[in-house]
């Protein structure tokens, strides 16, 4: 038995493949195999893909326009309407909800109340609804589900009568987009700063390291707040969106830059780098073509791990009213008013988006952990 066989005897036995497959596999294949063996991480990946698809196809999935344009003025602060098959008058094969009406009379002390009627409102699939552009290009007006007449609110409505389910779907998309933009910006900065610090070393490294440490020392959320507070009120929702992503990216690169610096520092004295330099390659070429590919997998892992922090930072900022604002939906925007006592006491469906977001963040954390364990295919499994 050779030494290598003794180090990794199980893999070959369990999968039953020939050992050539294992030794000739690309790094991507090795990472994927190890990742697949981790059941938690695999389940988390499915959850994550599901939510990403939810975010991308949000307009198709949501029955109503999530902005004020799609509000149901007759059903404000309305409870969730769960489609049912049976009611007092019997059962049907098609799911339905009950209609609602606005009512005022002596029995309600002459105040307007919303109450359910006995009339059945059947759920339909692929009905025509408000117009939107799928993936931002394809004009469509079909939605996954709806009802024959009027509105269906499976997560209830908010104070203005906006559909919470539609808002949640759109919020998932927005949060993922803000996170992606923030991660990309901080990734670019981290790559340049960390790469330069690690490659050149010496006083450049010292200065840049001091900078990284400093950026890590300052509490970020108060700093976010300080910067975000000065966004003029006149900015449009899109401008705000890009500015918030930019701020998240500009302040979040410290940890990633340090990791990249450490990698570069460890690799730059390797023989293949020396060979490249002897052949006349410049620093930029060596960093880009030789050093960075040597730890791409680690970079991807770090990006996945830092993603939920971006999403949470955006949520916090929007929650206190400094991030995104109303026509754009994000979890933070949706939670802005929930600390009011009447909401806490009466309108619990405002909190339905919370478990969904906890699930998304958890999925990211588990996928990130799984990738981190898988990214080093030659390491022993711990």
């Amino acid at each position: 038995m050779s030494l290598i066989d003794r180090i990794r005897p199980h893999r070959r036995d369990r999968t039953g493949r020939s050992r050539e497959d294992y030794y000739t596999a690309s790094q991507g294949q090795l990472v994927w195999q190890r990742f697949r063996a981790n059941r938690t991480a695999r389940a988390a990946l499915y959850v994550l893909v599901f939510f990403v698809l939810c975010g991308i196809f949000a307009p198709f999935l949501s029955p109503h326009d999530p902005t004020a344009a799609g509000r149901n003025a007759d059903y404000t602060n309305g409870a969730p309407q769960i489609p049912q098959f049976c009611d007092a008058t019997g059962c049907s094969l098609r799911p339905f909800i009950h209609g609602v009406e606005r009512h005022r009379g002596a029995d309600t002390n002459f105040r307007w109340v919303t109450r359910a009627t006995d009339e059945r409102n059947y759920v339909t699939f692929l009905p025509r609804g408000y117009e939107y552009r799928l993936l931002g290009v394809i004009p469509m007006d079909r939605h996954l589900f709806g009802v024959e007449t009027g509105f269906i609110h499976i997560f209830g409505t908010d104070a203005q009568g906006k559909d919470i389910f539609s808002r949640t779907m759109h919020a998932i998309g927005v949060s993922l987009a803000v996170g992606s933009a923030g991660v990309l910006i901080s990734f670019g900065l981290a790559l340049v700063i960390g790469g330069v610090a690690g490659y050149f070393g010496g006083w450049i490294d010292t200065v840049l390291q001091a900078l990284m440490d400093t950026v890590k020392t300052v509490p970020t959320i108060p700093l976010f707040m300080a910067v975000a507070a000065f966004i003029p009120d006149t900015w449009t929702a899109e401008q705000r969106f890009f500015f918030i992503s930019l701020v998240l990216g500009l302040l979040g690169w410290g940890t990633l830059a340090r990791r990249i610096r450490t990698h570069v520092l460890a690799e730059r004295t390797a023989d293949y780098v020396l060979a490249a330099r002897m052949s006349g390659a410049g620093p930029g070429h060596v960093i880009r073509r030789h050093l960075l590919p040597s730890f791409t997998s680690y970079i991807i892992v770090d990006l996945v791990i830092s993603f939920p922090y971006m999403v949470l930072a955006e949520t916090s900022l929007s929650f206190i009213g400094l991030g995104l604002k109303d026509p754009v939906n994000s979890l933070g925007v949706m939670l802005q008013n929930v600390t009011r006592v009447d909401v806490l006491l009466n309108y619990h469906w405002y909190f339905i988006p919370v478990p969904i977001f906890v699930a998304i963040v958890l999925a990211f954390v588990f996928v990130g952990d799984g990738l981190r364990d898988a990214a080093d295919p030659y390491a022993e499994k711990r």
């Binding site: 001091a210 900078l211 440490d213 400093t214 950026v215 890590k216 020392t217 300052v218 509490p219 970020t220 959320i221 108060p222 700093l223 707040m225 300080a226 910067v227 507070a229 000065f230 003029p232 939920p308 949470l312 949520t315 916090s316 929650f319 206190i320 009213g321 400094l322 939670l335 929930v338 600390t339 006592v341 806490l344 006491l345 619990h348 909190f351 919370v354 906890v358 963040v361 958890l362 954390v365 588990f366």
Partner: protein, 335 residues
């Protein structure tokens, strides 16, 4: 002894350098935001019915020294902070920032400090126990809890607790003082009232730091437990808590001491938002107000600088403590 003094001096200089850099970053950010202090003050006066001209703004800028170059003003600000302990004058209220935030900053620091103490009181023993009982149901439960600590940010936890408490007890658990003590001067009764209300914010502030720290202690202890010196100690007949505390724990807790500063950072991060949820007008909410509502850059800069100062000071102290309690380093100093 001389070596120790040199270490102290070097470490102190490094902390000072960090503070200088932080102050430069904060100052630049405050500089970059649209509009300066004079314009803001004059705009405020305009809303109060005064007639304001461009010449007034220029005159106000000269009076506040805003016409001087950027670096000169930074040096002026930073020497004021370091040598005269003056944080500058608030843009809008025209009073010393220190006077404005003093009491509230102390309460914020007390809350953050309480959360920090709670974090370590819980996470160190629990982390050690979790590592010792690796693979058991307790360990599994704690791991799920610490993942939740990542995924359930503090303000969502606060919301969840408020929701549960309004449903079951009819009380939202907000605020830091009861009605009768809100504006009273400090006394023992007020302090006791503060404590009876502060446990919830302290618990919530410590929540994610606690969850992450349990994970860290567990990982460090697991690494140390497999080492040969632990086996050797076991072979000599030590076992149980005695073994854990005498050998692996002393090794594993070094990096934990080092991370206190970052935990304070994490707690400060959550402070303004938790304060907003729990309506703690006395603490981080001032920051929120300074930043969000009044656009007072002088005040905002001062608050961020004091928060960072607390973190840097804590980092300095923990580094020194670590050097003193770690016999390998101590021998080098006091041989």
């Amino acid at each position: 002894m001389a070596a120790f003094a040199r270490f102290l001096a070097l470490r102190f200089a490094a902390a000072m350098a960090t503070m200088l850099l932080v102050s430069l970053i904060v100052f630049s950010l405050m500089e970059l935001v649209p509009g300066n202090c004079a314009e803001r003050y004059i705009a405020y006066k305009a809303t109060q019915g005064f007639v304001v001209t461009d010449a007034d703004i220029r005159a106000e800028e000269v009076r506040m020294g805003l016409d001087r170059p950027y670096l000169v003003r930074w040096i002026d600000w930073i020497t004021g902070v370091f040598f005269r302990f003056e944080l500058g004058e608030s843009c809008l209220w025209r009073v010393d920032v220190g006077q404005l935030i003093g009491d509230k900053l102390l309460i914020s620091l007390a809350l953050a400090g309480g959360a920090l103490v709670l974090t370590y009181l819980v996470s160190v023993p629990v982390g050690i126990a979790s590592a010792a009982l690796r693979g058991g149901w307790l360990d599994g439960g704690l791991r799920i809890l610490s993942y939740l600590g990542l995924a359930l940010p503090n303000f969502l936890l606060a919301l969840a607790i408020m929701l549960a408490s309004t449903i079951w007890f009819g009380d939202t658990l907000t605020g830091l003082f009861s009605e009768e003590f809100r504006n009273a001067p400090w006394s023992w009764a007020r302090f006791a009232d503060f404590l009876s209300n502060a446990w919830l914010p302290i618990l919530i502030l410590g929540w994610s730091a606690m969850a992450i720290q349990i994970q860290t202690v567990r990982a460090l202890m697991s690494d140390e437990q497999g080492k040969l010196y632990v086996t050797a100690a076991r072979a000599r007949g030590l076992s149980g808590w005695r073994l854990l505390m005498r050998y692996p724990a002393r090794h594993a807790l070094g990096p934990v001491v080092n991370s206190v500063g970052f935990d304070l950072n994490r707690i400060f991060n959550d402070l303004p938002i938790v304060a907003a949820v729990l309506i703690l007008t006395e603490a981080g909410a001032l920051l929120l107000e300074a930043l969000a509502r009044s656009n007072d850059q002088q005040l905002a800069g001062a608050i961020i600088l004091s928060m960072t100062l607390a973190i840097v000071a804590l980092n300095f102290v923990t580094d020194v403590i670590l050097a003193v309690i770690d016999p390998r380093i101590r021998k080098g100093f006091f041989a």
